[in-house]
């Protein structure tokens, strides 16, 4: 594995495509990555959405999008993307749609749909070689309903349905590895706080055809319990502590795009969020903290070996 220095050969877009005044929470990490990626994808896009926080971006009769939008259902975004993509291809082939009118199809879902209910539809869309970009904003819980634990919730996190002294007893599902196992055209993890890395990956994804994933960590002030002004800092700490590895799968290989050196202790990330407060107060849960640190250490030991 090599450490590729994140670089982006041109200035980031200075005009922003996504309109303001949305009903998202202050400091929404999902909205942050959508802003950044949308500017790079451009307005010739149609977002096919599944039930989640960002569903409330388009509320009749208003939308912050310059391009198209289709809300489907929680499990159905990749299948909806299939229908839109196939129809556009048919129209172009039959000469009923000029090529310049064609659109990039983007499935936009949260982790609830991406890791769970919509995974069968996702797996099958990849298997069919569907030409689409899947953007998942991962806020590690069913955020829109008040942050119950999902299949993306990390070990020990407190959620509305894991309120015990040890928090969530399960372990975060590795969606990136599941995608990679399907041998898609592209898959990448990003963080809104690492804009250059994100920009390079968004451009890369845009340049390819076939199934492509951008899996974005979406720090969630309301669900994770931190001050909205700290969204960027929380995202940075997720990367610096090695909890959220930045990587990409392309041409059959996984490459880490940013190896945190020195890697900060996971505590630096955990102690900033209310969802992990029970690890520190009223008493330090040394065993749990060590377990989380050991898992992160083991991950990076595998990467760097």
């Amino acid at each position: 594995m090599r450490d590729k220095k994140p670089s982006f050969p041109k200035p980031l877009p200075s005009t922003h495509l996504l309109g303001t005044g949305t009903p998202m929470c202050a400091g929404c990490g999902g909205l942050q990555v959508l802003h950044e990626i949308y500017d790079l994808l451009g307005p010739k896009t149609v977002f096919v959405n599944a039930a989640g926080c960002l569903t409330l971006l388009a509320v009749y009769p208003f939308t912050p999008f310059r391009g198209g939008w289709l809300y489907t259902a929680m499990a159905a975004a990749p299948a909806g993307a299939q229908g839109v993509r196939d129809a556009l291809d048919i129209l172009v082939r039959q000469g009923r749609l000029p090529p310049e009118e064609n659109l990039e199809v983007v499935a936009l879902t949260g982790d609830g749909a991406a890791y769970g209910m919509g995974l069968s539809a996702t797996s099958s869309a990849i298997e069919r070689g569907l030409d689409f970009l899947y953007l998942c904003y991962d806020n590690e819980g069913y955020g829109n309903t008040g942050q119950q634990y999902s299949e993306a919730t990390p070990h020990a996190a407190r959620t509305a349905t894991s309120g015990g002294p040890r928090g969530f007893m399960g372990y975060k599902k590795d969606l990136f590895a599941i995608w990679a196992a399907h041998r898609p055209a592209y898959a990448a993890t990003v963080a809104g706080a690492e804009m250059l890395d994100l920009a390079r990956k968004a451009e890369k994804a845009k340049s390819l055809r076939g199934p492509r994933l951008i899996l974005a960590l979406a720090p969630c002030p309301t669900g994770w319990d931190f001050d909205p002004q700290d969204t960027v800092e929380i995202g940075r700490l997720a990367v610096k502590t090695g909890i959220w590895p930045l990587k990409e799968y392309v041409d059959g290989r996984v490459v880490h795009t940013k190896i945190p050196r020195p890697r900060l202790p996971v505590e630096e990330y955990l102690k900033r969020q209310g969802r992990f407060a029970h690890l520190f107060e009223p008493v330090r849960q040394e065993e749990l903290l060590k377990e989380i640190q050991a898992q992160v250490d083991a991950y990076w030991a595998r990467v760097e070996s």
Partner: protein
């Protein structure tokens, strides 16, 4: 199947459905196999592979995904056909509501089959009636010819600017799906002329004209607005259907009515039912007429929208009507019975309604049961009161269940005894 349109051919209901999709020149078919529907997508697939049909068929991983893709393609701007049965229709139920709400003008053929549990392959109408309130219009067929004709008409109905709602064309599994009947295949050019090119209307995705579809609403006001719009569009489909049927008759010489009335003019009594078993009711009507009965049949083909005024007109003044439901709303009774009762209630000349449940899971409806039902009708009319609903089931059938149990029990006992 070596058949070339036009002309008369022996076709199964499934082949008739596939032919209709071909004649309508569909652009896109998202598919998923399920008995007894599978022959439809196999037939279309074979034509596509042979280069006879310019269409894209994609096998999805579920009916939920299939209907999602169907609706999404239809609102992107292409003509879409799909088909399913039974559990598949129920698996797709969430998306049936969704794509109807998108006003996606697609056509779905449902090949009726009873619902689990217990799981079965044979037909009744609980599957398609579960989709009753989705916003899909429903046309119920009794013959293979009707399947073909109804699918062609369904595209016109779905795509009409006054309607813009998806349509389910229903046929019974096995009794139609796998039964060959003589079917008149229209001339391809005449069929294409009748259906016309696909007009996406305002529903399409293109770069220069951004559009948001299926968006959320906040509050009951906008929600009610859109739901009422759909309801009114569904009701508007009644008069649109008549226009389309007139044009269909002028082109092809057949006029599939919204409600079929058979030997009804001077009738005192009538059977009321949908689907292929209604052909057995016709046979029973003929027999009873020979025996001096004044009896007929009313068979709604359109179930959504329900032609209520037409039903009232046809049934006013009749003494009693046997409503034969090939479905069962558990804990209530027959769905058609409840719907017909609500259509007739409080109207002058409304007949007595007598409810029968029969034909569940493909259970036969033999002539003698129709004769028995006619007898019940006459007694009810004489007494001026309807008897309680009847679940059609014979002593022999009960005996058969007991016999099967006895065999299984004896076999188990024998296995226990043997070392």
């Amino acid at each position: 199947m070596q058949v070339t349109a036009p002309g008369r051919a022996l076709l199964t209901g499934n082949a008739a459905a596939a032919w209709a999709a071909r004649l309508a020149r569909v652009d896109y078919v998202p598919a998923f196999p399920i008995t007894p529907q599978t022959e439809i997508i196999e037939t279309l697939s074979a034509w596509i592979d042979a280069g006879e049909l310019d269409c894209r068929l994609v096998t999805m991983e579920s009916e939920h995904a299939m209907v999602a893709a169907a609706g999404a393609a239809a609102v992107t701007g292409v003509r879409v056909f799909t088909a399913t049965s039974s559990q598949g229709l129920l698996y797709a139920l969430e998306m049936l509501y969704a794509v109807a709400g998108w006003r996606a003008p697609l056509v779905l053929v449902n090949v009726s089959r009873g619902l689990a549990a217990p799981i079965t392959l044979e037909p009744d109408h609980n599957d398609v009636l579960a989709a009753r309130d989705t916003g899909f219009l429903q046309i119920h067929c009794a013959t293979c010819q009707e399947v073909l004709d109804s699918v062609l008409m369904a595209f016109r109905l779905a795509e009409d600017p006054r309607v813009r709602l998806p349509v389910i064309v229903n046929q019974d599994g096995f009794y139609l799906s796998f039964t060959r009947e003589p079917v008149e295949l229209p001339d391809p050019e005449a069929a294409a002329g009748f259906v016309g090119p696909f007009d996406p209307g305002t529903l399409r995705f293109r770069a220069s004209a951004p559009l948001s579809q299926g968006v959320a609403v906040l509050g009951g006001g906008p929600y009610s607005y859109f739901r009422y719009e759909m309801h009114l569009a569904a009701q508007a489909a009644l008069s649109v259907y008549d226009e389309i049927a007139a044009e269909f008759a002028a082109t092809f010489g057949r006029r599939p009515p919204p409600v079929e009335a058979y030997r009804l003019e001077d009738a005192d009594y009538a059977f009321y039912m949908t689907g292929s078993f209604a052909t057995r009711a016709k046979e029973a009507v003929d027999c009873l007429r020979q025996a001096g009965w004044r009896i007929g049949l009313v068979r709604p083909r359109l179930l959504r929208p329900l032609p209520e005024a037409r039903l009232r007109e046809l049934l006013a003044g009749k003494k009693a009507v046997a409503v034969i439901d090939q479905n069962l709303s558990l804990g209530k009774g027959g769905v058609l019975y409840a719907e017909l009762a609500s259509a007739l209630y409080g109207h002058r000349g409304a007949p007595l309604l007598v409810s029968f449940i029969g034909g569940l899971g493909g259970r036969d409806l033999p002539p003698e049961e129709f004769f028995a039902m006619a007898g019940v009708l006459k007694a009810a009319a004489h007494e001026g009161a309807a008897p309680p609903p009847r679940l059609l089931f014979t002593a022999e059938e009960l005996e058969e269940v007991h016999r099967l149990r006895a065999i299984a029990g004896a076999e188990r006992a024998r296995l226990k005894e043997s070392p």
